[in-house]
Symmetry: C2
């Protein structure tokens, strides 16, 4: 990773005993972690730990870069997934065009750590938020931000605050399009076009493009989900054409953006087919979960992409994040309690999946497919396993998670490891 | 709140733009928050915010102190709920005997901020964790800690590490008792007694008491839950008598501890009936959620206690925590999107409940009983409401939560307010 001064300062901060996942008895500079000789498997850490495998992160960064280049698209990875300045920098180093954020406090964190171009994938509505953004744009000429609008009221607020706070800059705005039953976004072409006209007419705003988010439709009815994905993408393409024909876009280029981590292939295809506009088109994908993928929801969605595309996706995104916990208790033959709970692992999509177990001192971890986590409390996981299983107090268990976003937000510090689970450093998160 | 040097340093730390819930454009010392004139209702903050009503916190502190005194019990409130040094101090100032923690990193945080007596309501198993605890006990003669064991392997690890790290101190240990189908804890009287003998025989440990946790049984089958609660408490009482008869306890007193936030009345009753031991008995309750209560699970459990006790509980624990979000979008007649999501509010027991809505500039918030949150994404809540409801973009919505533990861990900083939602300060959390 390259480093700017704020990142270097972060890397050299002093960590105090009590930071989750490090076995500290005395303060330690973060850049001294690699020199401690920590290894996840030796049982000498304070468990649970969150471990990011560096080689897999690098693979995913390179793979996604290749995908985007092949698709003629730019990446603005969603930073809300990790909220980690070091990972933002790694994404930018791997060619990302911008970092996407969900809220103004998140955008402030990104700016503080040197991110120079952001896409806010929401319409900011609180005056304090819009004022905070406008002040950044006023005071930092080299910082660029694109934001969404999905209502007249929203556009009016943006215009008003920009006029009094940063009148020398016009705010580039994407009209957000949504489907009925979806989340935010103007509903349908007519509403989108009306809103685009309002933005174009607002003196402090400039219509920079069209945005949508198709990634929420990941339910059990795959056919219905895919129909909605394609419907939204088709509407976005059509609205872009309409706005262009009506001369509403302002600026050297037109921007179109969608793409979570579930369907970025469909997004890329839909955007690739959009051409013949009056000016160059920037196609921006915003996947956040590609960086670590997971062992659950996004792994399954990757499998679907493999089925759709074959060879191109064979060596696609791999899970980079594991949590390692210790067996705290084995109170009944078929039950082990792990030092891992709702404070440590996501549980909104499904509970963590046991991957491996390891007895410190033995040669290598062994698979743990025959067990499952049946329940989690705040600080405990209930591992159900065959009564005869040799797992005992003090053994280690690795689990994979489903949904990176709701796991990252439980770890102020995550460890980086080599392929032998040697700890080579750490990253920070800011939630 | 009283303040020790580490707390004073925390209160005067500099907060940077990007901290969730404060509308910062420039750094601000935390002790200057009160001077900013913030009010949650004026719409000038960055939403969502988490707001603790100071008068309700004080009511709950006083009520619980009174309850414990009346019951002849001591309080060791579970600190894992809030992980907030300022709230730990408020609990100690209100007479708490100790602070309970779940993990060694949590215990380290409490120690760093001046807590001098802790109960670790788990058996620490990782060597790094036990070594960290032993080093504190070795280096800080005025710091006291009680820990649990629930297995021979656990007791052996504790004894071994204490022998090589802090041989001048003996670690006070509580034997943890559990029920089949429960979480940790030795299963049954015989197993508990066997383990107590092992602890008593371990040179670096001393058997200080008996522990159990009855608070997990809060399901739909209330009769079955209560039967288990009473069964565990009866076993704990019996094991205490047996250990006393066998002369296994060591020290001036015997400690018995249970009591989450669901059944502390039953716990107090069961412990009050335990007398005639060879030495004085310390009855220790460990409720964590009493401090803020909530609008969901614990509110319901408080109602049950009111039904059981009548007048004594009429003015019992009150919900002290609200989250306020802003309406970001109103894309369909029956739907509003709020700036509040899985990153902000607990969702493990149930989704947040709408309480009030408010249009900044109007006189006072209005009730919002006719709406519900149907779903949350990471950063959004889907508020379903009657199509004709006047709620619009920029309005505020207050929600109550169910389960404080999984809400506190989403807020590094929470606001303190007076009864008019004026912001009078803030507390920090360390997860």
């Amino acid at each position: 990773m390259s480093a700017n001064p704020s990142l270097l300062a972060l890397q050299s901060q002093t960590l105090l005993p009590g930071v989750k996942g490090l076995p500290l008895q005395a303060p330690l500079r973060q850049d001294q972690i690699a020199a401690q000789g920590y290894n996840v498997l030796d049982g000498r850490l304070s468990y649970p730990v969150a471990v990011l495998r560096r080689s897999t992160l690098e693979h995913n960064l390179a793979w996604m870069r290749g995908f985007a280049e092949h698709a003629g698209a730019l990446l603005a990875p969603h930073g809300k997934t990790t909220m980690s300045p070091q990972l933002f920098q790694a994404q930018l180093d791997a060619g990302a065009w911008a970092i996407t954020l969900a809220t103004i406090p998140q955008l402030r964190v990104a700016h503080r750590f040197g991110v120079r171009r952001v896409l806010l994938a929401n319409q900011p509505v609180a005056y304090a938020d819009i004022e905070s953004l406008a002040a950044l744009l006023r005071d930092d000429a080299g910082f660029d931000a694109w934001v969404l609008v999905d209502s007249s009221a929203g556009a009016a607020r943006l215009n008003e605050v920009m006029a009094r706070t940063a009148p020398q800059r016009r705010l580039p705005v994407l009209v957000e399009l949504g489907l009925d039953g979806g989340r935010t976004g103007a509903r349908g072409l007519d509403a989108g076009l009306r809103l685009a006209r309002e933005v174009a007419a607002a003196p402090q705003l400039r219509l920079a493009g069209i945005e949508g988010y198709e990634g929420l439709w990941t339910g059990a009815d795959r056919a219905a989900d895919l129909a909605r994905v394609h419907a939204l993408l088709a509407q976005m393409v059509e609205l872009t054409r309409e706005c262009d024909r009506a001369g509403l876009f302002d600026g050297d280029e037109i921007l179109i953006s969608a793409g979570g981590s579930a369907y970025f292939d469909f997004v890329a295809d839909a955007f690739a087919a959009l051409d013949g506009l009056s000016r160059p088109l920037k196609r921006v994908l915003r996947s956040g979960c590609y960086l670590t993928s997971d062992h659950g929801l996004y792994h399954g969605l990757q499998q679907e992409m493999r089925t759709r595309h074959g060879a191109e996706f064979r060596h696609g995104l791999q899970p980079a994040l594991e949590l390692w916990a210790m067996v705290q208790s084995r109170p009944e033959p078929g039950l082990a309690l792990l030092t891992l709970g709702k404070r440590d692992a996501s549980y909104d999509v499904e509970l963590p999946r046991p991957l491996q177990w390891h007895r410190p001192g033995e040669a290598a971890p062994r698979p743990l497919r025959e067990a499952r986590i049946g329940k989690m409390n705040d600080q405990h996981a209930y591992l159900e396993l065959p009564p005869e299983h040799p797992l005992q107090v003090g053994d280690l268990v690795a689990v994979g998670i489903s949904h990176p976003c709701t796991t990252f937000d439980k770890w102020p510090l995550m460890l980086l490891s080599d392929d032998s689970y040697g700890v080579t450093g750490a990253i920070n998160t800011f939630f």
